[in-house]
Symmetry: C2
């Protein structure tokens, strides 16, 4: 009877192992990969192998069998036996001189588009139609290694700060954010919705775990096709209890961003380089009140304030510009948003009831986070629901939280793709999503 | 202007800090928590405080103000200043003698059910209706700390083994698993579905990252109400390329389980204890062919084989029983499932075309994982689609994978709630989901 032990069964070496070999281990190594690029130099061929964490240069001297030569085709999967040599001109500083090359799997058709260039010259629309193959490009796949790095950094920081990771339902009976932008579905004869955020659940879990976080999909049925909206995106949500005020949340996010940007620099350097991403340095992040920010840019850029209740995209851009110029910060917290534009669970500012104890974080000209303190008192919450035209009876299970005891708390939601998009300086959010969902796009 | 530095702003001590104090730090500490239990001892009161990672005993000598005494109510959130003393009879071996007690937030109503008992006597139906408060119970909240631990263990192991974490769309244009159990939704005038698994996406990403994983929600519109099905659950999915055969996948899972069970023992002991969970020991996991397993239990338990193509729940239970008894293993891989019962992307066994290179993992009587090798050759895949009555034209973007080169690969999907359920020896999967979704339940 076969028994699985959990020991490593695939013996081929990965890049980090290839780089760590000492001299007597460099002979007759075996590795595998996909042929990313072939350059015929006459007497020999450079084979650039795409492996998990980058590329490896291989030299093939053309003395092999006919079969081997036929295997030399882009996107073929191959296994290679050879000797490792230092080669400062090659990526990663080594090359493999091939002794044996085995075709593992053959690409049936040529790619519809050459993907092994440093800069791809392809329109977004066209790219999205063939995304599964375009992602094979080094630049493209590096983008989503950075996405992974961001998520790992966030999680590590939140774990260090005693946040409990939660998984909450995505099929729900009511929207947390209200409004029309909610997807409906049929659920065994009942009407159900796709969660716009884990808001209610993370709040319900505050008396239980005090600090919780979730990184998962949320769904918004926005009908507008813009460069900054997706209909499904990854939301980084955290919520924390026993706060003194909402600056505790702002501070936690600042700490999380500081930690994560350093984590990226320390662990994702090859990918940062490939994208040429400019990772910002954070020492401190300025906080400015919504009203003051409006006035500052109105004055500086000589603009009329059209909508006193919300920031237009152009205003977000200008606030960022101003704070970059005058305070040297690529991040800025805009605080105290008007009650009108915040959901029913937002806590009003006791000093001015037209505003809430809430904030957005702007990064390089765009809102990437929305957060704030929530109402924890039952009567206050019921009253505000009514003021917003909602029926408290529709929120019975959510209101158990307020009814049965709940510390002061608040939290935030960050759009992962927006943060990534700004980090890598892309103009369209679709570039920061592997398989974006917009009003026209369901495939791939 | 206020500037956020990311420094810690909430100074109250958490349990691990309380336990690490040296003698001269034990005076006048401040901490916070929710009052879990109050025991009036006449001259003084024991206040059991619920904190993030457990309970802390506080002693209140009743000499405080009237206001303080009124604050003594279960589920009130309080802040406490006091001195820490060793007290071997208390949980965690310490107690806090309270000097000052401040009410932070008051529970408006009493709980509908007393949640501070060691064993809760409540029917599942009733519990689910008031889940947000029942989760405040120490036993219940420990269950989902274990869930967190499992996920952390899995991720750590997969990261060590060079898996890239991915996020794939949950709104999709076609189901990966086929069949009728798929949720439909209206998507801007188009028909869309909720993803039954990330199958297509993780395969598409094999030529790009070689090894990928995702831990996220999947949706199954199963109409049957059973103790082992949920309509939304967390699927732990991984997929790996350049495999020699599907035992590489089996070995990777074995390694992941070994690592994770040890990780739980090392890091989640207090929660394991609270649930009295029996964490199994893995040295190796036996693998048995589907056909052989059927015969073994037919012989041993004198049963007729009714359905030769699938395992009934009772058969899963008996196979587990047999392997526990005869091989001392609580896990068993059942391999080579019939083609009839496996999806179109499963690779057939070249040695017997009625069977596939696939497996299930049984744990304590129940299937918790389904996996196998996938077809990577284009023509083979197209042919099998047709044999299964599918139209290859409906899978154009998925088939880019096979058309443009893809190494041999395979992977698996594990139901997180099922694994957790068996680990903590619960009879109903709803106990292993914070807010379960079943045919009748959308709230909370």
């Amino acid at each position: 009877m076969i028994k699985a032990t959990g020991e490593r069964t695939i013996k081929d070496l990965c890049i980090s192992e290839l780089l760590k070999l000492n001299d007597d281990e460099k002979k007759n190594i075996t590795t595998h990969g996909t042929i990313y690029n072939i350059r015929d130099m006459g007497d020999f061929v450079f084979i650039i192998l795409r492996k998990v964490n980058g590329l490896i240069q291989c030299v093939y001297d053309k003395t092999g069998s006919e079969e081997e030569k036929l295997a030399l085709k882009e996107e073929n999967a191959v296994r290679i036996t050879g000797d490792v040599y230092d080669e400062p001109r090659a990526v990663n500083g080594i090359e493999i001189r091939v002794k044996e090359l085995t075709l593992i799997s053959c690409a049936k058709n040529d790619l519809p588009f050459s993907i092994n260039k440093k800069r791809l010259n392809i329109a977004l629309e066209n790219e999205m139609a063939i995304r599964p193959v375009v992602l094979r490009n080094e630049h493209r796949r590096s983008i989503f290694k950075l996405q992974e790095g961001i998520v790992r950094g966030f999680r590590k920081y939140l774990e260090m700060n005693d946040f409990t990771e939660i998984f909450t339902p995505k099929i729900v009976s009511a929207g947390a954010e209200g409004g029309a932008n909610i997807f409906k579905l049929e659920y065994f004869g009942k009407k159900a919705f796709l969660a716009q955020s884990p808001q209610f659940y993370k709040q319900m879990l505050i008396p239980i775990y005090e600090r919780v976080f979730e990184i998962g999909p949320v769904f918004r049925a926005e009908k507008h096709d813009t460069a900054r909206h997706l209909n499904e995106y990854i939301s980084v949500d955290f919520e924390m209890g026993f706060i003194n005020d909402f600056y505790d949340i702002i501070n936690m996010e600042t700490g999380m961003l500081k930690y994560t940007l350093n984590y990226l620099k320390d662990n994702y350097e090859p990918f940062i380089e490939k994208i040429n991403a400019q990772i910002p340095e954070i020492t401190e992040i300025p906080c400015v009140k919504f009203r003051d920010a409006k006035e500052m840019i109105s004055k500086k850029y000589n603009r009329k304030i059209k909508d006193p209740y919300d920031l237009e995209p152009e205003e977000e851009r200008l606030i960022s510009e101003l704070f970059k110029e005058e305070y040297g910060s690529e991040f800025v917290f805009v605080t105290h948003y008007p009650v009108k534009k915040r959901p029913f669970y937002a806590m009003d500012d006791p000093e001015n009831e037209k505003f809430t104890l809430s904030f957005d974080l702007l990064f390089r000209g765009m809102e990437i986070t929305t957060g704030g303190q929530r109402i924890h008192d039952y009567d206050t919450q019921v009253e505000k629901m009514k003021a917003k035209g909602l029926n408290p009876d529709d929120f019975t299970s959510y209101l158990m939280l307020h009814k049965h005891g709940c510390p002061p708390h608040g939290g935030l939601g960050m759009g992962l793709e927006r943060f990534l998009m700004k980090l890598i300086d892309e103009k369209n959010i679709r570039s920061a999503s592997m398989f974006p969902r917009d009003t026209l796009r369901l495939v791939p």
